[in-house]
């Protein structure tokens, strides 16, 4: 939650508030853009463009407490625009990602950590292969921890649409995960199958 006072100061073009807002929301925005596009250099451009649009238009934000939704709307739409412009499906390959460094005292857990890391990479790869609307829904729900209602506002759709996208995206994820990973990896992580129930934890 961004301090509404910072937003109010930004509306008065207070440069120190710009710094504070960027410091508070910048990294989350960068990672969101990265998850949505799969490429860090593009993510940085998107963050820059989003903050530029944000500072240009922040005077029009009447409810500072709605900043997160308002800003994510700018961010996600900028991502969609860039994705369309690039005309590429963003990709995050397992090979592209570095495995986290394992310290000596972690030796006992190395196998487990590697397995878990592979699961995570497979999920990220699958998320990034989803269509932009599904990918955005997943990222906003799980990473940004927005509620269904907030995601609906960000994406400009009905809450029911968000729910169905979440459901469908998770089905795709489950299917792809099963195909990508060996069964033992799944079992090692404690996952044995998706039941298909609704996903409304953030609500």
């Amino acid at each position: 939650m961004i301090d509404p006072e910072i937003i109010k100061r930004c509306q008065q073009k207070d440069q120190t508030a710009y710094d504070a807002l960027f410091k508070t929301a910048g990294k989350k925005a960068l990672w969101t853009a990265y998850l949505l596009t799969g490429r860090m250099e593009i993510a940085e451009e998107i963050v820059q463009e989003s903050f530029f649009r944000c500072f240009c238009n922040i005077k029009n934000l009447h409810k500072p407490e709605m900043f997160t939704v308002w800003f994510n709307r700018i961010l996600v739409r900028t991502c969609w625009y860039v994705i369309r412009k690039e005309r590429k499906t963003p990709e995050v390959s397992l090979e592209d990602e570095k495995l986290p460094e394992l310290k000596d005292h972690d030796n006992g857990d190395i196998l487990e950590k590697v397995e878990q890391n592979q699961v995570s990479m497979a999920i990220r790869k699958t998320v990034n292969s989803l269509k932009p609307a599904l990918r955005s829904t997943i990222v906003l729900f799980y990473y940004n921890e927005l509620t269904i209602r907030e995601i609906a506002k960000v994406m400009g759709c009905l809450q029911g649409t968000v729910k169905s996208r979440l459901y469908y995206a998770k089905k795709v994820l489950e299917k792809e995960l099963k195909r990508e990973l060996l069964d033992e990896h799944i079992h090692l992580s404690g996952y044995t199958g998706y039941t298909g129930k609704e996903c409304v934890e953030n609500e």
Binding site: Q15, C56, S120, S189, Y191
Partner: protein, 310 residues
């Protein structure tokens, strides 16, 4: 339900666990601010252009800024104004108004023969005429204390023998995309770097060079050394605060070319203030372009320049 929660957990974990590997480049914010300034500057330029065909109370401030900028810095966006002014005046005018100091010590506008090019004679200066290092230009602050934000930068040179001062506006030297453009201008214009800062309707100009000219050479005939001089302190540095006259001539609109100052019409004379100091072999001057700042406000802004250049 457990499997559902497990998948939720795995997705959340996958999307967040390597977040810390991402580093937020603070240069991104600088770029954003630079774009915001440029956006603001473009809006201001449009406002200046519009102003020529409008009459309003607000135009007074714009005129005074334009006039002072023309005389002191010859910013690129005012250049057409100047060029047209020279052509227009040469064709039809032979007498113009100039500002001199009267016998009673007050500044007055008097009608004088229009000086021919070269009549102005050399400009007196102290110091050395040489290029200001790029490192110095890069250190020009983005803002001054008191809430003044950088609006534009310019590089210039002064032909002291002919009394000519020319300059070009330049992009941020730190902007890698504009670096070539900056270098190109720097090749020819490198003796003086100036910057305009803005807060609401108040403007401050900063000028840095290795040589120093009189307080204001905006008169066609006189070099005002500055009146009511006062020695003030900017931290540990001693500086001189002084006033000088600034002439605001009526602007004549020229279709598609902006306009020009009509020096054949009597100008309005305002009193402007300046702070000058020497630091690390460079001469610094801060001008109160909007003539609405107190000594304290100008001093605070100048002190922040001193600190950023230490």
């Amino acid at each position: 339900m457990n499997n559902n929660r497990s998948l939720d957990y795995l997705i959340k974990k996958a999307l967040t666990e390597v977040e810390e590997t991402a580093t937020l480049d603070t240069g991104l914010l600088s770029e954003v601010k630079s774009r915001l300034l440029k956006e603001g500057r473009d809006t201001e330029i449009m406002a200046k252009i519009k102003f020529f065909s409008h009459t309003s109370i607000g135009r007074a401030a714009t005129i005074s800024c334009s006039v002072i900028i023309v005389f002191l810095f010859s910013f690129i966006f005012i250049q057409p104004v100047r060029a047209v002014a020279e052509k227009g005046i040469e064709k039809v005018r032979s007498m113009i108004y100039d500002v001199i100091k009267g016998e009673d010590g007050k500044y007055v506008a008097v009608k004088v023969p229009k000086p021919e090019p070269g009549d102005l004679g050399p400009i007196n200066y102290t110091g050395v005429k040489k290029a200001v290092a790029k490192e110095i230009i890069a250190r020009i602050p983005e803002s001054l204390a008191g809430g003044f934000m950088l609006s534009s930068r310019a590089l210039g040179y002064t032909d002291t023998s002919k009394g000519l001062a020319l300059s070009r506006s330049v992009p941020d030297p730190a902007d890698y995309k504009e670096h070539e453009k900056f270098n190109e201008i720097y090749e020819k214009f490198n003796e003086r770097v100036s910057a305009i800062y803005k807060k609401y309707n108040s403007w401050i100009a900063l000028s840095i060079s290795h040589f120093d000219t009189p307080f204001a050479s905006n008169s066609k005939r006189e070099e005002f050394e500055g009146d009511n001089k006062r020695t003030i302190c900017l931290g540990a540095i001693q500086a001189t605060y002084a006033e000088y006259p600034g002439a605001r001539y009526p602007i004549v609109e020229v279709a598609d070319q902006g306009g020009y100052e009509d020096t054949t019409k009597e100008p309005i004379i305002n009193i402007y203030h300046t702070i000058k100091w020497e630091q690390n072999g460079l001469y610094f001057t801060v001008f109160d372009l909007s003539h609405d700042l107190s000594l304290e406000e100008l001093q605070i802004a100048a002190t922040s320049v001193v600190e950023s250049m230490m």
